[in-house]
Symmetry: C2
Subunit: 370 residues, 2 copies
């Protein structure tokens, strides 16, 4: 129930200083002190959430760039262009309140609610701010957390957007069949580790690539991939794929783009399928600077299907997905590795680490324990 | 019925002199005199065909290159590497007989048959040699011509491989819906002119591009495209597409590749579809030299489906296709423009003309009138 109180509590948030070009740096973001309302304003249907976990996802790089028509995500509002910034000298406190935090997926606990579907104490996941408290003005996008016998952070990963991404990407987009060969790039990441496990559960032969020995070991020993390789140690990606797939690839789950895609195209089988989930190797370049892909003629000769997809188109599948996956987790059929950074202040470093592959598993930021 | 006679008749054929690198030239091929058996050898199930029309198709460029694993077509056997060539000095006549003609689609008349499905006088279309007479050793790939109230040459085009290509490419691969926007490149060619007309029949808004004013006029005035442009006169393909499709493109029928594809990706709508039929702009380069495509990230953000296809996978649809199209032709609902070169000797020039866009409409070679 919304309360009339307009009291404020101290909070902290992370803002983007200015639009980023090229690789983002930790100090492109800054932790600022601010205040948060302690209650939802009377008459509002907003929900006030205390953030517990924040998710670091590659798509967030798009939000750090100047808005362009072909972008992946709505651009964040950096401090440099916030209208309130202009008024800073005159009305300092007011300015601080209006500065917008970076936004992304997170897990939180409802502190106060003006919306009938939520009440104080509810655990929720969805789009929130990179801050201690967030006033969610469109709470209909929040999902109430149903199962708490798993780590709450899982709702930023296996039980959240990356989990549904992996599920629909593999099962709906790749049209997999038992016995087929599956290649996953960025295979130890938030999505890749799940795609590999889904493919194994289906009876496919699965190979993954990642950027370190530690990750390759995870793929083979923890996630049960049939084979894996460190792409940074292969001077010839085409040869690496031929070694792993002497008969060719039926399904490629594309997370990286660029030269890897070119090598994959040479190794696809006839009637192969490529699910375009993301192209993380290219996110720090403008679209026109993306590395050229030269082997698209294979799409004709091999009658390949390349299909882009995004999780929001498939949200309606979340309930059935959740029931299936929670069961898999409980039965030990699927495992999930997270890389948890502690404290809101560690979030900028955790986010930029995605682009150099520093994270091992799903990158999460712990903001507060319940 | 196969006859015992081993008599020979004078014939002519076109052979590839040697594997081609880069743009093919007319004198990469040569017209040679030879002889042909006048009857099918006794006991053979072959069919002897007198060739009437030969088809010039872009995919044939692949057959002119040194064989590579990713090729579009079986390489032709050029004179330079035919084993018989080695024995030339010693056994000149025998050599000439074994030299293999360029092969491709054609229309012919059965002269003699060892196969129960064919008899002398039958009109057929299918894979044949670039020669006056061809001994077809696998006649099961030949199709008997059912309707002769249309030009026989149509069986190299609208009623042959390009026709079925256009039909399955548009109706099966593009998943078109009434009212959608459709863009066709190489739109006045053997396939493109049909795709545009199929799309109009379906109630789509159709724009085509081609390489001359004459072709653009054909698109607008003969084939009923809603709009068309000469890509050679546009210094900015992205701007040209934005002008023609202010709301974006639902369906792109891809015949050319390279920079055109990059421009199209920027202009596709969300959930758009791209049928990869061919990439003629790239055929004279080795695969690794194909121009890089930079805008593939649009495949993710717009959830685009790109699907390669080839007509042979869809041969089972030919009978239903034929009945539909013959009716359309008779009712004047579909028209077809051919560019007919006269004489076998004109075939090399006709074929290489495809790669500079010299042909206006489907390129055919008339070898002999019935």
């Amino acid at each position: 129930m919304a309360a009339a109180g307009e009291a404020e509590i101290p909070s902290k948030r992370i803002i983007l200083k200015d639009y980023v070009t090229g690789f983002p740096k930790e100090d492109d973001m800054v932790l600022t002190s601010c205040t948060s309302k302690s209650k939802v304003p009377e008459g509002s249907k907003a929900v006030l959430v205390k953030n517990l976990y924040l998710s670091c996802d590659p798509y967030m790089r798009a939000g750090m760039s100047k808005p362009i028509p072909q972008s992946y995500a709505t651009a964040y509002v950096p401090g440099s262009v916030q209208p309130s910034r202009l008024a800073r000298t005159a009305r300092g406190l007011f300015v601080t309140l209006l500065l917008q935090a970076i936004i992304g997926y997170g897990v939180g606990k409802v502190v106060d609610s003006g919306h009938p579907d939520f009440k104080a104490g509810d655990l929720v996941w969805g789009i929130t701010g990179w801050e201690e408290f967030s006033m969610i003005s469109m709470p209909q996008q929040l999902i109430k957390i149903k199962y708490t016998d798993v780590p709450l952070s899982y709702y930023t990963g296996i039980l959240g957007m990356p989990g549904l991404t992996a599920y629909v990407g593999f099962h709906e987009i790749c049209s997999p069949k038992k016995g087929e060969t599956v290649y996953v790039s960025a295979a130890s990441g938030a999505v890749g580790q799940l795609v590999g496990q889904f493919a194994k559960l289906m009876g496919c032969y699965v190979v993954g690539s990642a950027g370190s020995k530690e990750k390759v070991d995870l793929l083979k020993n923890k996630f049960g991939f049939d084979d894996a390789f460190n792409y940074k140690e292969e001077h010839d990606l085409n040869a690496a794929l031929k070694r792993c797939f002497p008969e060719g690839i039926d399904i490629y789950f594309e997370n990286v783009g660029g030269p890897m895609l070119d090598a994959v195209l040479l190794n696809m089988k006839v009637h192969g399928r490529i699910a375009f989930c993301g192209l993380i190797s290219q996110y720090n370049y403008n679209l026109t600077q993306h590395e050229g892909v030269h082997n698209l003629f294979c799409v004709v000769t091999k009658r390949i299907r390349m299909q882009g997809f995004m999780e929001p188109d498939h949200k309606h599948m979340y309930p059935q997905f959740l029931e299936l996956i929670i069961q898999y987790i409980r039965e030990g059929k699927i495992t999930y590795v997270e890389d948890v950074a502690e404290g809101l202040e560690s979030a900028p470093s955790a986010l930029i680490g995605l682009f150099s592959g520093r994270n091992v598993g799903k990158q999460v930021v712990l903001v507060a324990r319940e």
